[in-house]
Symmetry: C2
Subunit: 380 residues, 2 copies
């Protein structure tokens, strides 16, 4: 199998699964129970949260565990409310959460970049939240978060200077980037960050929301009072421990893996562009996740190619998994101004742990053959 | 280890874990992706939902998967809103969710029973939701759901007869009972039911909300549109498959296990009452979960006994795990009118898969010795 859809899902790393396993059937105790074996479980859970915090330069007690990125984003948005500024190329989870509030969608440029200037222009006096992903999940474009943070900081200071106490926070969904980029919340200037284990070889439905101490979160789920009362429900101990391990591995191998994937991706990109000079690579050429390759073959029916490739054990995407399933055109490709006949010929290939020289070279051959075959079919 | 706290947490059944394992690192694909291996995962996920539906006499597409019971309850409550009637002995998740709305707490009787008559008396013209757990998590008392359903049905019909279209639904958190009782949603007359994998030897943070087709749910988590748009987020495939397996096993062994636990529990109860005639067993004598034994030793400090027992590898609870952790007196024991000096001497023992003749007999000896020692210490 040549798997080129790591942005949609990643296999749980064997080391992650090993770390999780004891917490299913052996150390299964309710972390809120008072006896020693449960306290041991509680400590392991808290240690996992500390480890996750360390991976992003944050403290354990600033982290709320959630069931994946979507819940984390919804918790961030519903806690802050007010007018929200976000990009028109954001993931459906961010757009869906933003739609619950008054919001302005900032237009990304043709590379999928949400500029600090465009964010600045969209901020209103009642804006309380700016949310920009660390990297776009379809194009891989890395957003200028530090510049955006500077805009938010200046707006905050300007408000304080005029005695306006309306807060403004910067949130980032870093789910898609944390495997390849350094996510230090202080260095990036973030107030809130969303992470997702399932994108970094951890388990599905495990995520977190980090919020700086000055951000007041409010509970969406009420009950037993876990996670400082912000997110009730018996803790997903195995999930948290798996997530911590996944983040630890991601941080440890980040530079090596990022370089490795960039080389593989660049080779694949070159082969495809050499074979099809008319093909268009989208996303920021320089500021792009190293595993991402978004390429459009004008006038091609990408879905036909996808299924032809599937028959040859090459798994690629035509868009993000959610949108793909609905059979609608990707909002990201529309947002960056790809014409329909270009957008509909798009393949997203995302490399990762399962990619190596060998299977990427084989995948390139298959893709070239199937795209050629499809162009020939159309020419008939 | 003599584990007598199955109501707080259960170990994942090895068969459940086996069923889950392939979905971590092998069949890890995003169920929304379009290629065949992902469609296989999607089918396995849907089959798991069908199996869960079958276990409660419901259809797969009436089930929304959630991250545990707390989210399921919050989803039910926030979907229906309006005035809510529930019991004062309900789990914190129900009470916490109810507090977000106008609500009336029905007083349970001294056995922890919420009678149909008391529910009837609390229903107002604007009541939209009645929520009563299948069984109380502290006392094990099984609630008269069918009688309560009849009250709700009559109220609904009375409203319709007078042209009032205000809906009224009956929700039940059946997390604590489904391992030992038949939960057929039609037979019980329910409109919504909450289940939790972690209480039936499945994984933590996996739950579901079943809602009859006439109940309109509204999303709490917005995003990719999974679970018919009601609950976005990439699906917890391994979790759902584990939950389905856990429910299948629970249903298959329910009668046998229920009889087995009742015999063990009755023996333990008899030994403790023989040794301490002053002890008080709470909960409904007849309508009680077969694994539950709630016993109070007047004037005893139950926490001291708990820790003494822990040192001898006997794990019991003094209340529900959430409340225990906060060091506050159980609201359930207050609700049923136990005097503080009786309530504070309470131990909750909940039997389950890890209980057998041998370890229950040994546990009984340890409990009798430690309670005796504590009474002797106090007498000095």
């Amino acid at each position: 199998m040549m798997y080129l859809d790591h942005a949609a899902a990643t296999p749980v790393d064997p080391k992650v699964l090993s770390a999780m396993l004891p917490y299913f059937s052996d150390d299964f105790y309710n972390p809120s129970a008072p006896y020693a074996p449960a306290i041991t479980v509680r400590r392991a859970y808290e240690a996992a949260k500390s480890d996750m915090g360390r991976a992003i330069g944050a403290k354990s007690d600033e982290i709320i565990m959630t069931a994946g990125a979507t819940e984390s984003i919804n918790l961030a948005f519903s806690s802050v409310g007010g007018h929200i500024v976000t990009g028109n190329v954001e993931h459906h989870a961010v757009l869906g959460a933003a739609k619950q509030f008054e919001h302005t969608l900032v237009a990304a440029d043709e590379r999928g970049l949400v500029s600090a200037a465009s964010v600045k222009a969209a901020i209103r006096p009642d804006t309380r939240l700016v949310s920009v992903a660390l990297a776009n999940n379809e194009l891989g474009t890395i957003q200028p978060l530090r510049d955006i943070a500077e805009v938010v900081r200046k707006e905050r200071n300007a408000r304080l200077a005029r005695g306006d106490r309306t807060p403004i926070y910067l949130h980032s969904d870093a789910s898609q980037g944390v495997g390849q980029l350094d996510v230090n919340v202080a260095r990036l200037g973030l107030d809130m960050v969303t992470l997702n284990a399932a994108k970094v070889y951890g388990p599905k439905q495990v995520g977190l929301l980090w919020a700086a101490p000055h951000v007041q979160l409010s509970a969406q789920l009420h009950g037993g009072g876990q996670e400082r009362g912000i997110r009730s429900g018996t803790e997903n101990v195995a999930g948290a421990i798996g997530f911590a391990k996944a983040l630890e591995l991601a941080v440890a191998h980040r530079r090596f893996e990022s370089d490795r994937l960039a080389k593989l991706r660049d080779a694949l990109e070159k082969e495809l562009l050499d074979a099809f000079p008319q093909a268009i690579v989208s996303g920021h050429h320089k500021h792009r996740l190293s595993g991402h390759l978004h390429i459009s073959f004008p006038k091609l029916d990408a879905e036909r190619v996808l299924f032809a490739l599937e028959a040859r054990d090459v798994l690629v995407a035509t868009g993000s998994a959610c949108a793909a399933n609905k059979g609608t055109r990707s909002h990201v490709l529309t947002a960056i101004g790809l014409k329909p006949e270009v957008a509909d010929g798009s393949l997203r290939m995302t490399l990762g742990h399962l990619s190596d020289d060998n299977n990427i070279a084989r995948a390139a051959i298959c893709i070239i053959e199937e795209v050629t075959r499809e162009y020939e079919r159309m020419a008939v």
